[in-house]
């Protein structure tokens, strides 16, 4: 018991120190100052202040969680959170002390300036003792909030966190949310909700209450809802599923007009990556072939589309060929490339395969920029004047319109990919992925299976490239670097290897997030990186792990026996 207690305090202090370093770091790189004017809730709290509260809140939460897990009493849990909060202040206080006693700290740490001191002492620059107490107080209270959250019953905690996160996000991404709302509500109404990009207090409170009530209600009712859904007779269930699907489809169709031009543009890019993710997933997720040269297919598709449709000097048809004819050509061109490139590497496994494919990616980049192919694809100057797709006489110029092409392509890709996964060939790929030798001993022609995986996988990359060419209107070699391959691979891993919904979410997170984070100006990539790390730490299996993986987890913790309707597992709702 005595030892246990000690370790609770120790871990609280450790957690506090780690968060304290984070707090100091955020200040020293100038984040507090950069966002001191950015009001998340008008005249109540700025983003800079939230950045000060947050490390302590997380620290308090983590310390409390650990204490709780070791079986400590609530008082101890709470106390450990408060201790963590107090300790969080230490690194920053040390820096304050150094700054007060040594001149020229600013020469090294440019952001340890007046603004910073003002922020961390809550405007008590002149009286550092008061400032110290203010900081300590604020951090302890923040950590206390984390501690209280830990102690609350699960449903209540979930609802509170949901409501808090909702208000925070709506406030933080004021600019984006405003853009969306602009399409829906008149300006005057908008101004009662937002003051420029800051949420006003009253709407914030309303939002919090609504979020809380909604989430709590859902938490309480969720089991009952799923139970009554499961109790429905099969035809009725199908009806519910159909209605759900219909609403979802309508929402998908209306999406670009709801979110406006800027976001539509991002969504189109996300969609292009979703397609590539689904394609690469066939090689990696299904067949287990670590392909690091996926950009090859993207480039082939883009250049084929470019030279076939361009109205410029490099255009082969003088702009006569339609986008719709080019799509299948790009698809086939990419498949042929995939097939040919797969031939020499069929015998390779694992890491060696990865390096070889990486090489292909590099080769295609070099070829694109080379003088040798310059007469055909323009070298560094690229291919210009690629016309927009023409849909029965309408030029699809805007991202809102191009969205539908991407949506259709994604749906087709998704459909094919699901069908493949559940087919005999999907099973074959799975066997090859798990153990090539055993697969061969089962009678599987592993070379053929791999060749097919590379070829099919390449197809969607080609289409994605063609759409990209039409969207941007120009194709340059520098769009086809190894980073495309890495991004596509990362979004698959982030989303959950082998999981189709995961890929969609992964693409949104990986490709969409940096765009949304523009709000954070120069700190965008820092936050992006931190968020990616947090996501992977929290969900090492990916955001939405694949069915197979879920099945494994389920088998490890067997659920209650299923109702005896049928022996086979029912597909989940809305899947």
């Amino acid at each position: 018991m005595e030892r246990d207690k000690k370790s609770v305090w120790r871990s609280a202090i450790e957690t506090g120190l780690i968060m304290g370093v984070v707090l100091l770091y955020l200040g020293v790189i100038g984040m507090f100052a950069a966002f001191q004017e950015r009001e998340v809730i008008y005249e109540v709290v700025t983003l800079g202040q939230i950045l000060i509260f947050f490390p302590a809140l997380i620290g308090g939460w983590m310390a409390a969680r650990r204490a709780q897990k070791s079986g400590a009493a609530p008082v101890i849990v709470m106390a450990s959170a408060l201790v963590a909060g107090a300790v969080t202040a230490v690194p920053t206080l040390i820096m304050l002390f150094i700054n007060a006693n040594i001149e020229n700290v600013r020469d090294v740490l440019v952001n340890v300036n007046r603004d910073w001191v003002d922020m961390v002492t809550f405007d008590n620059r002149a009286d550092l003792l008061t400032g110290t107490l203010a900081l300590l107080g604020v951090l302890i209270v923040s950590a206390g909030v984390g501690g209280v959250l830990t102690l609350l019953p699960k449903k209540l905690r979930g609802a509170l966190m949901f409501a808090g996160a909702l208000v925070l996000l709506i406030g933080m991404f004021g600019e984006t949310v405003r853009q969306i709302l602009q399409q829906l509500v008149p300006r005057e109404t908008l101004d009662t909700i937002y003051r420029r990009t800051s949420l006003r207090l009253t709407p914030a409170i309303i939002l919090f209450v609504l979020g809380f009530v909604g989430s709590y209600f859902w938490e309480v009712r969720r089991n009952a809802v799923t139970r009554s859904y499961n109790a429905m007779p099969a035809p009725q269930r199908t009806v519910v599923q159909r209605i759900g699907l219909l609403i979802f489809l309508v929402a998908l169709l209306a999406l670009p007009w709801i979110v406006g031009r800027a976001l539509s543009d991002i969504i189109v890019t996300v969609g292009i990556y979703v397609m590539m993710g689904l394609g690469l997933n066939i090689a990696i997720g299904l067949a287990g072939l670590l392909d690091l040269g996926y950009v090859t297919n993207y480039a082939v598709g883009a250049y084929v589309a470019a030279v076939l449709t361009s109205t410029g000097a490099l255009g082969l048809t003088g702009g006569q060929m339609s986008f719709w004819v080019v799509i299948p050509i790009a698809l086939i061109a990419a498949m042929i490339t995939g097939f040919i490139l797969a031939l020499p590497i069929l015998k390779m496994r694992g890491d060696y395969l990865a390096i070889a494919t990486l090489g292909f990616g590099e080769i295609i980049g070099t070829l694109a920029i080379s003088d040798w192919l310059r007469p055909v694809i323009g070298g560094a100057q690229g291919v210009l004047f690629i016309p927009k797709p023409n849909f029965f006489g309408t030029e699809l110029v805007n991202p809102e319109q191009l969205y539908y092409i991407v949506l259709a392509a994604c749906i087709v890709t998704l459909f094919v990919s699901i069908r493949l996964n559940n087919s005999r060939i999907g099973r074959t790929w799975m066997a090859v992925r798990e153990d090539e030798d055993v697969a061969a001993a089962m009678g599987i022609d592993t070379a053929r299976a791999k060749l097919l995986a590379f070829t099919v996988s390449a197809a969607t990359g080609g289409v994605a490239g063609a759409i990209f060419a039409a969207k941007v209107g120009t194709v340059f070699p520098n769009s086809f670097t190894v980073f495309v391959s890495i991004n596509v691979l990362s979004l698959i891993i982030l989303g959950g290897m082998g999981s189709n919904p995961g890929i969609v979410l992964g693409a949104i997170a990986l490709v969409g997030m940096p765009e949304l984070l523009r709000e954070f100006s120069e700190f965008r990539w820092l936050i992006y990186g931190a968020l990616l790390i947090i996501m992977m730490l929290n969900r090492p299996e990916g955001l939405i792990p694949s069915k197979v993986r879920q099945r494994e987890l389920a088998a490890e913790n067997p659920p209650e026996p299923a109702p005896a309707t049928s022996g086979v597992t029912q597909p989940a709702a809305g899947d």
């Binding site: 099973r427 799975m430 592993t446 494994e552």
Partner: protein, 244 residues
């Protein structure tokens, strides 16, 4: 049974030499398996037992020598064509598809076959042979116990309707009670007409069920005899049966 018969053996391995790079893993191996027999290959770690099975199933190619199955030369038949020829293997470490269910694993065993009804039938047979597997039809193979995985791997190999079953160390990592069960099953399958080539380190048990045995030592066969005779052989007793 002991002496080489004049009629053609089901499996004939003639003087095969196999290499891993410079390592000469099989040095002129010659042996045969008759229709209806259980033949065991015993030998200590690294003797070349697994390599022999890999050579028979074309997962590696011997540099010299031939392998005949039912009178046909299968030395260079691609591995994936062998199930259709009638040779099935339960690989070392079982090699079940961890993420597929028991039933899906069994279906993979019948991969080359197209006769849906026959597959259904054999599935039922497999479940009759291993009732434990029927209970766990929908369980993911990776979560089966070691013994269950061994049953699954064996049942999966049988799904190919082979005429020769190759087993690589079925006793590996199993508790003694389970090992007994596994060997009982092997005997039962054999009684129903299956020819078995059994690779084992557990020589005692292997010689218990087998008709004949070969002792393999650093890639060479050093002894060949009936199982009963091998059990009595002082050298075998000392080296492989742990008797003094």
């Amino acid at each position: 049974m002991i002496e080489r018969q004049t009629s053609m053996a089901l499996l004939e391995v003639n003087n095969i030499h196999a290499y891993y790079g410079n390592i000469h893993a099989l040095k002129g191996l010659t042996f045969h398996v008759e229709q209806g027999e259980i033949v065991t290959l015993i030998g200590s770690n690294g003797a070349g037992k697994t390599t022999t099975l890999r050579a028979i199933t074309s997962l590696m190619h011997p540099r010299e020598g031939t392998i005949m199955f039912e009178g046909k030369d299968i030395t260079h038949t691609p591995a994936n064509n062998l199930p259709a020829q009638g040779v099935a293997m339960v690989p070392e470490g079982r090699g079940v598809f961890a993420k597929l269910t028991v039933e899906e694993n069994l279906e993979m065993g019948a991969y080359y076959r197209n006769d849906k009804d026959g597959i259904r039938e054999d599935l039922e047979k497999a479940y009759d042979l291993f009732p434990r597997l029927r209970e766990r039809r929908l369980q993911v193979a990776g979560t089966l116990s070691g013994g269950e995985q061994q049953m699954l791997a064996t049942a999966r190999a049988l799904m190919a309707r082979p005429r020769l079953l190759l087993l690589d160390e079925p006793s590996m990592g199993l508790a003694p009670v389970l090992v007994e069960t596994v060997f009982d099953t092997i005997e039962r399958i054999n009684k129903e007409g299956m020819t078995v080539l059994l690779v084992e380190q557990n020589a005692l048990l292997a010689l218990e069920v087998a008709h004949r045995g070969y002792v393999l030592q650093t890639g060479e066969i050093v002894l060949a005899d009936s199982a009963a005779a091998l059990k009595q052989n002082p050298e075998v007793q000392k080296k492989y049966l742990g008797m003094e």
